[in-house]
Amino acid sequence: MARYVLGRVAQLIPVLLLVSALVFAIMHIVPGDPAELMLAGAEGGAITPQRLAELRQQMGLDEPLLVQYGRFVAGAVTGDLGQSVRYRVPVTGLILERFTPTLQLSLAGLALSVLIGVPLGIAAAIRPNSWLDLLAMGAASLGAAMPIYWVGLVLILLFSFQLGWFPPAGADSPAALVLPALTLALVSAGMLARLVRSSMIEILSEDFIRAARAKGIGERLVVWRHGLNNAMIPVVTMLGLQFGAMLAGAVVTEIVFSRPGIGRLVVTAILQKDYPLVQGCIVFLASVYLLVNLAVDIAYAWLDPRIRYGT
């Protein structure tokens, strides 16, 4: 097992190198000089070529691309992702500062999506093709189909502006986490419910379930212990992917609810052509995504004792 985990961790290195090289290349292909952009954002004052050259030199943009990339990789190994050209502070600090609210949001979103999606899927699976199934799957399809932006605004209108239960913006209190987490959860729960349903239906028709019932085991135990446990393997895979998607894709939610987070940081960095920050964020998010998936793989073994790695 340990060898397997170490091997998987080692595999992350070439993937991350590839990701960083791709991001670096893309950022240099897309138009725009960050130094010029910084000066162009100013309101007044003429930009001279001398001033532009001076700023480019200060930002390290006058060096060959390979040197710039090499410096980035060498720094990243030691946790130094360079200095943001826009914010003029270390990228690592910026990422860690913004990652906490994004992580909180994603975890809360995932938890809510499990709380909503799993019971909905089970309810639908227990009575397939019944009105309950129809209702649950209708709700799930609706959830999965709704755009996050729209869901967020509707929740704000209802729970903030009409009922006044939750703040419409910010990240200063636990109450401010509810609506954004629910926004992420509603969309994700729809997909989760559908997956749980199909997985449960498949498992509940297996021979060992029939055997369990024949032995006189209660239906509740059959469903929750034998059925759900086995149905959770594909669900865990999906949860891992969903969690990664939430981390990287929380940007819309963060904007609608005015929450600080890594998604907004990346978008601003891309628009401003802040090379080090974009590279740092993408490599960081890719690392988190890969680690989450590694954790999911490991979780298989826990869920299904038949699965053993590295033996």
Binding site: E43, G44, T48, L52, G152, S173, I255, S258
Partner: protein, 534 residues
Amino acid sequence: MRRYRYAAPLLACLLAGIARPTLARADGNLTIAMPADQEPASIDGQIDPYQLTWLLDSFVTDPLVVLDPSGHYVPGLATSWDVSPDARIWTFHLRDGVTFQDGTRFDAAAIKTNLERIADPKTASAQLKNDLGPYTSVEVVDPLTVRITYATPWVTLLEAIRRAPFWSPAALAKYSLADFQQHLVGTGPFRLGAWQRNDRIIFTRWDGYRGWNPVQTAKGPVSLSSLTIRFIGEAAVLGRMVETGDADIAYMLPQDAIEDYKGKPAYSFIIRDQSGTGLQMVMNLRHPPLNDLRVRQALLYANDENLVNDVVYDGNYAKSEGPLSNNHPCHWSGAGGVYPPDPARAAALLDQAGWKLVPGQPIRQAVGVPGVTDGTPLRLRWTVLHHKEIGEAVQQQFRKIGVDLRVEVVPGPVQIDRVGRRDFDLIYERQRSPDPYILDQIWNSRWDQPGGWAWTGFKDPQLDAVLDTLRTEPSFAKRCDAAKTAQQMILQNALQLSTLSDPVFVAFRTARVSGFDMGSEGNWFFVNNVKVTQ
């Protein structure tokens, strides 16, 4: 926040009891909500080039010179100033008894330290260094007198120095360049409490403040105990925050929210324009069809700015007729009459230029236009960063005279790239300042260079000579006259298409907030006299 006290226990059920009730807001705390895209990258105005940074800095430190709500430069931390007749030597006399928030003395040496910090290449000042200009020396004449000397006239110093924040030299020495922006120490009414990026900035009252800003009526510390600036990502949310009590003041309200506040007795609603160029589109004269004066003039005759304002903004936007917006102190009043809306005349000019309407085709085609293949449709690109709706309204107007306008919204880097390659037809170019030097920046062919702001490719020694005056003439009145001459020349050559000017919309509950003073410019305000009533 009090409204959400019941939300926390509810959340506790959902999130395993981690929630706790939020605190009710105490008296004297002012919350101002504004769009998230206004949040600067740095709140040290010596580094960052954005207007909002200088505004935020003005809460923490008073400037030497204040542009007051009536649009006049009045003494701030400088009690007076002298300028030599050739505008090369500026002498500022400083207010006595002023201290920084760390207890150190504000004096001429502090000014010198700050000016040297701004000029230091390590600071990489993106704007203020340019604005303050290439001074040759800063002398401490005595503790309360500082002299700044230039090799050539620097007539725009007051405009630059009114925005320049001056920090405690002791604090500057204590923190690194990157860290200082989290530890600003100035002479102003508020201390920087915390900057939670992408969320809010909290300022707390400094009790040592003596009301040095001339805008403040009662001397001594300000009434507010704290000031919170919140950055709101969603316009619809920003639009409702005053109504719901989540903010005291909504600054830069979206257009859609205006009707919720305008004309309602419970609210104060302010519209304040910003002097500058307005949302103008400059034309690329380097290639057909815009290298032909008649085509450019035709576009101006086809454009009806008032109609766009009525249709798109219910008349709430401000007029900007000509290279300087109508509220600019140096606006040429004749600008509005040069190209009155006249589609028939526009069509005639296009005919003369060889762009003809072919039966059955809505878009004109080239017939004998030099450098253009016959049959080429008259198609132009309208490249903007925002305000797409203006382009779409103009598109309809141009369609009536047979011009196909393609509206494209691009991000900043793409705009800069297009400008760098001179690959555009009409492109958004805007500057904001009540000083006329911005005309020099955009229209003097001297600045048609990499990184420069003269994008059109127009070159006229006569215009350049007039524009040079804007940088050298010490008298503001004479510079205004020169600016008016320049505006006439720019309009005669039809180099730009004026659209509108987007004012700043501000709303607050009249019963809750008093003493809020907007600056003479929409992008500035003062909170020195604000009182909040629960």
